[in-house]
Symmetry: C2
Subunit: 893 residues, 2 copies
Amino acid sequence: MAKQHVFKFGDGKADGDASMKVLLGGKGANLAEMSNLGVPVPAGFTISTDVCKDYYKNDGNYEEDVVKQVKDGVKHIEKTMGANFGDTENPLLVSVRSGAPASMPGMMDTVLNLGLNDDTVKGIVKKTDNERFAWDSYRRFVQMYGDVVMGLKPASKEEEDPFEVIIEKVKKERGVELDTELTADDLKNLVKLFKDEIKKDTGQEFPTDPWEQLWGSINAVFDSWNNPRALKYRKLNNIPADWGTAVNVQSMVYGNMGENCATGVAFTRDPATGEKIFYGEYLVNAQGEDVVAGIRTPQPIRKDRKTEESQVALEELMPDAYKELVDIYQKLETHYKDMQDIEFTIQNGRLWMLQTRNGKRTAAAAVRIAVEMVDENLIDKETAIMRVEPKHLDQLLHPMFDPQAEKKMIAKGLPASPGAATGRIVFHADDAEEWVDNGEQVILVRIETSPEDIGGMNVAKGILTARGGMTSHAAVVARGMGKCCVAGCGALSINYKEKTMTVEGTAYKEGDWISLDGSEGEVIEGKVPTIDPELSGNFGRLMEWADEVRQLKVRTNADTPKDATVARNFGAEGIGLCRTEHMFFEGDRITAVREMILAKDEEGRRKALEKLLPYQREDFYGILKAMKDLPVTIRTLDPPLHEFLPHDEASQKEMARNLGVSVEEVKNSVEALNEFNPMLGHRGCRLGISYPEITEMQARAIMEAACQLTKEGIKVYPEIMIPLVGTKAELADQKRVVKEVAENVQKEMDVQVDYLVGTMIEIPRAALTADEVAEEAEFFSFGTNDLTQMTFGFSRDDAGKFLKDYDEKGILPEDPFQTLDQTGVGQLVEMGVEKGRTTQPDLKIGICGEHGGDPESVGFCHRVGMNYVSCSPYRVPIARLAAAQESVKEKNK
Amino acid sequence: MAKQHVFKFGDGKADGDASMKVLLGGKGANLAEMSNLGVPVPAGFTISTDVCKDYYKNDGNYEEDVVKQVKDGVKHIEKTMGANFGDTENPLLVSVRSGAPASMPGMMDTVLNLGLNDDTVKGIVKKTDNERFAWDSYRRFVQMYGDVVMGLKPASKEEEDPFEVIIEKVKKERGVELDTELTADDLKNLVKLFKDEIKKDTGQEFPTDPWEQLWGSINAVFDSWNNPRALKYRKLNNIPADWGTAVNVQSMVYGNMGENCATGVAFTRDPATGEKIFYGEYLVNAQGEDVVAGIRTPQPIRKDRKTEESQVALEELMPDAYKELVDIYQKLETHYKDMQDIEFTIQNGRLWMLQTRNGKRTAAAAVRIAVEMVDENLIDKETAIMRVEPKHLDQLLHPMFDPQAEKKMIAKGLPASPGAATGRIVFHADDAEEWVDNGEQVILVRIETSPEDIGGMNVAKGILTARGGMTSHAAVVARGMGKCCVAGCGALSINYKEKTMTVEGTAYKEGDWISLDGSEGEVIEGKVPTIDPELSGNFGRLMEWADEVRQLKVRTNADTPKDATVARNFGAEGIGLCRTEHMFFEGDRITAVREMILAKDEEGRRKALEKLLPYQREDFYGILKAMKDLPVTIRTLDPPLHEFLPHDEASQKEMARNLGVSVEEVKNSVEALNEFNPMLGHRGCRLGISYPEITEMQARAIMEAACQLTKEGIKVYPEIMIPLVGTKAELADQKRVVKEVAENVQKEMDVQVDYLVGTMIEIPRAALTADEVAEEAEFFSFGTNDLTQMTFGFSRDDAGKFLKDYDEKGILPEDPFQTLDQTGVGQLVEMGVEKGRTTQPDLKIGICGEHGGDPESVGFCHRVGMNYVSCSPYRVPIARLAAAQESVKEKNK
């Protein structure tokens, strides 16, 4: 039997179902599933993603079976819909759409109204008794096919769309302003003019054979899998290139045949807040693309969602269709057990479902929906945990505008994606990327956004559009990104050329500061102060469930009592990295530090270090107290000493004056400490080995603070961590120094403290020889920042330049400083854990690089068997959720 | 049965033999072996190295068995030698000496004449009828024991020996000049004064009980295993600290009982040239230490070795003893099948052998002895290969003084260790180390050297002494180090205080340049030009044998046709690393390079690169031609671009003038290219990925040269190597660029060339993902310099500072930049080889870091299965020999 390439659906049954997403794409699988559920779906068929792979393998050719099965598929549509492809009396029109296993909204191509030509158009006129509709459909088809299949596009971003130029010309000639004012004859004329332009520009005749049209469109959809937009989107969303897309060929149904027609999109719950309320928008007498494109501002589906008197809800206008829609959405949500994003069309009063899929949502909505669905007994707690993307929690954790702050609101739009954002205005996606590269934070302001703007949207702090609804491109994409967005803010008048945005007479230029409140839809002048988010309610419940299931502990990187407290509130179970070097810069300390650096001998250094001791003791006292009952990992001095010296002449003079030495002496010291590659220089434990008195002072400060707190009845667990260890001998040397001091301090203060001495694993050699290092270490903490630098041979400070080229050429799939490179660096981490545990089966192991807050990397840390991750305070809940998800995945494996 | 701790020897039999070196130490094993051979050896016993280990483990205590067995040992000596320990009539005197498994001459302590006290000394007087000898022996014993066991030493280097102070005082009082002029009574007085001084200084009585003396001395020898000299020597010679030393307790025999007594050392062949001639020195009426210490200049053993009329050879003075000695040395050499270094004493005309061991020798001697012993059928070729230390070949490979050059010889001494050396005079070992640290090359000039001078001798280019013979400390140590040495140059008058050396009225100050010819014993004023060494004869034969047995190929690192030719003459089998960056600095090229760097766009860069193309083509033409029929690995541009820009103002101005741009532009470019950590910055393949046109130009230059040579009938094998690859994608990108150009050039020139495109493995990640990288690579070459930098996190340019501290604290056993760190970096190398061959079982793999010329590292490369090593031209023979030795070792495993 021939392999099945084409999967039919419609008429209450289907060849496929929802489980076949990989083969049929998300859209195809769901159309089949809906069809199986008895939901009214226009008949059609799906060409599988395997055909896409073959298409690329065979240089754009198809196997015979595919061609045969497509023919059968068309016959199935003809039979089900009672119309015939290419028939001049009763012609069947179809849509050709992409549909990948993962959602890639708007990234690939679509052709609608396919099957029209100068003959079949007459059949449509007859069938609909609507000459204008027929010719408008034909006009739209030629325009779309000419663009997507035949490649007639604007040559550059500055140029206008050639079809729109013709439309404008005809409108001018006819003295009308709106497209809708054009008559059937005008549209007929447009069809001719479009075809002429296509012939002139591409040298090819517009195809009249519907079958040629069909294959041209299928090819175009497969080709669009690799267009630049799709490539960029896949990269941003980690979608593998070899998945391929399916193609859905489906009977057209029309929301634009007249006033008893409509089209709309809806969510089974509010995608912004998660509230359990049916939620959607529609347009009367329109095609589906009109809603998504945001060109006309749509009307609400439900009466109670009207924001203006003049609006007419679908519930009021077409109550029967509305009722059927409500039945269907409830059926779908109950079936899929998740919030659905649905598309529908009403043709001459009859409801057709075009699509259902799990709806994108804000983090707040994801949390609320997940928790409420547990309460509704739709899903269990572990499913709820899996429903929230940990990265998106970021939205909930970052500060919101202070409600007490004075805000000058200048306009209000739709609250399309919540959160608060402040930045400088830019008007082009490219500019946004450039400004951000230069260290600016920007708000991208557009009349409307399109898939070409993805890059700019990704780097902007927030997005503001003048047109489009809650389901417009800008809104959908921003929510997906977890980015603040205010959409459809009609008060704005945007001039791209002059780079200005005018609101009631006031002009804001490129570079001016504005703020957006995505939860309220407010546009605010200037910068606005922020406050901390709420962490209770649904969020708190979800995190509780996460904590119940997860095995990995989550600590925080914090250098101050304040940070430690913030992190504790976020659920941190200790400090995984307390850096001590920042403390050296404060107040008078830097003078003592510099005195130490300039000292000629150990005695001089000890004198200066004695001045630092009380400060450091106070630092550690505060931090240990803030983290009472929990472990606190304190790293001994790490950066090269030259970082503490001034490098400009004026500061050097001041330093000389402060220390009572000559400027020459200061300069000589700066010179002597200068290094070619400071990252690989005299830092970390190398300092402590050269100058054990520094380690001694720090160990003393830590232990004196710990002993004092213990005496006060506060339980503390200091873990002293030696950085940049590459050999067992280095750790042994520093451990000896620390232990000696620690034992002395405990004797002096007559109290015992539970303390550990361990090591960073951040030098490749430490990971390679972890079995030896573990003979000395009481714990390991992977410093994956430095480990990544050395394993790749990348200096983080310098790599920006060439990593940009790497990104453009697709040489590195991800920034290894953000997501742990599991293939390379990960091997060293795994080796380090395994070898360390060979020596000490119960060795406590964690990670304190920035990867500790990256969900994918957290998953990796769980899988290799670490005890904890440590990350910045705001990332603690993200890590908690990511760790829980990994535990759930492991259970379900 | 109790474990045997003590091994007896003497009287023609022994408990041990030569195979028991690890347990008995070299000296003990050889005393046993000699005893077994029937050679006359004073009776004694050896306390094993295991006892030393236990001694350290048990805090200086002994097990009961040890104490018992030592007692039995003393009984054995008493019985064999017919004297009794502590007996007042017929007292037995013994020596207590160290003896480690590896030779550590003079590094540990010795006590002689043990068993003397105020009672037993009378027995000696009676027995020898020589009161002066008896009291002199007693005096020497108290002095030695007081120093070694009781610790009465000069407090610092500036202070004089407290015993010598007393001797000087007594001599002054008695109005005599020489020690020998002191009478028995004077010596008796000295014994008393010495004991008083010891009591005063240490608070302890000098022990009178011989058993207490014996245990004190055994303890002292074990303790001396860890004295600073011994630690330093072990480190220099890679002797593990846990081996421990044995202790040899042996009956004293005396070369200083009178004029029919003598003591001497000899080599069975000439240790400087390897000539098969018995060779040695002796002193009449002296103790063995007197010969080695170089205080009196000894006489030759053989008549035909007299250099002055006044000398008296042993052959003449004591012909019977001489004849017996000749018989014995022949027996020993035939038995050990290696050149022996022997010590003997003649007591009242009777010959006693005190020691035999394989003799240290110069590289030239090692080669000659090995080759001649093969000719004599004493050993086979593979044994000969194993007899030469590859590192020492260096001596033979480095230039010698040009015989045509004008040389102003200012003095002549003994040709103690061959080679030529030029450097600035320093008079103290510490100064030598300091000067060399500051980048100077020095000649260490001493009256005589002592074990304390090891460090300075090691860094000096050559060593010159005023006193001491061919077997003096300076001579023995210098030969061991393969370092040029002129010894016993009596014409020199050295003044340490004024730091001058005067020769016939001319004074040479510290810092003046002199030259030494260690093969001729010449001291020459100023610097002398050198010529290349001879590589034929014995050397050539040995290398032929090495080539027959070795499997590892040896290539060279060479950037010029001249270097390539030198290396071919040294036996290089191709070029393993041709760096292209040096070529960019020559002549006009740098201007074109800078023009490229300053170019605003690709077009500008291409214009500048076109100017470089003909130069590069010419470079490659020359190198490929010089290496015809052999592979040549050419690395594409590696260093960061800023290395090609001037960093001082004047040069920047000149560059601006040359290129017709503003100085500002030049400065901006320098600024823009500045990096925090250039080692980890924009270099290697990262440059080629950002600017593919650079790679294209280089690939074109290589392929045009290769095609041209092929047309001329010359067979060439270019191997184009991409540096700093960390991911498969990087290599794939650059390989594509190279292949495209290579195919085009071959088409243009209508000729085919065998070429490969491969990669350096120098980034840890490349080794970790070598299976992936091997999907693109046509060969691997390990760049272990950078791999070591990144695996350790050491910047080679900066590590000097802290590696010194590491060295002092014993944290790193070896400089990982000189000898490959097999424990850490080696894991990555092994992984890289294994993973690479998983993908491509026949992948050609080599090494081109500087480790390719280090014998230990070469052995490692063989063991992990590399195809070749590549090293600097002068190291090629070293690598060939090291590779052969590894093959032999593998065969014998």
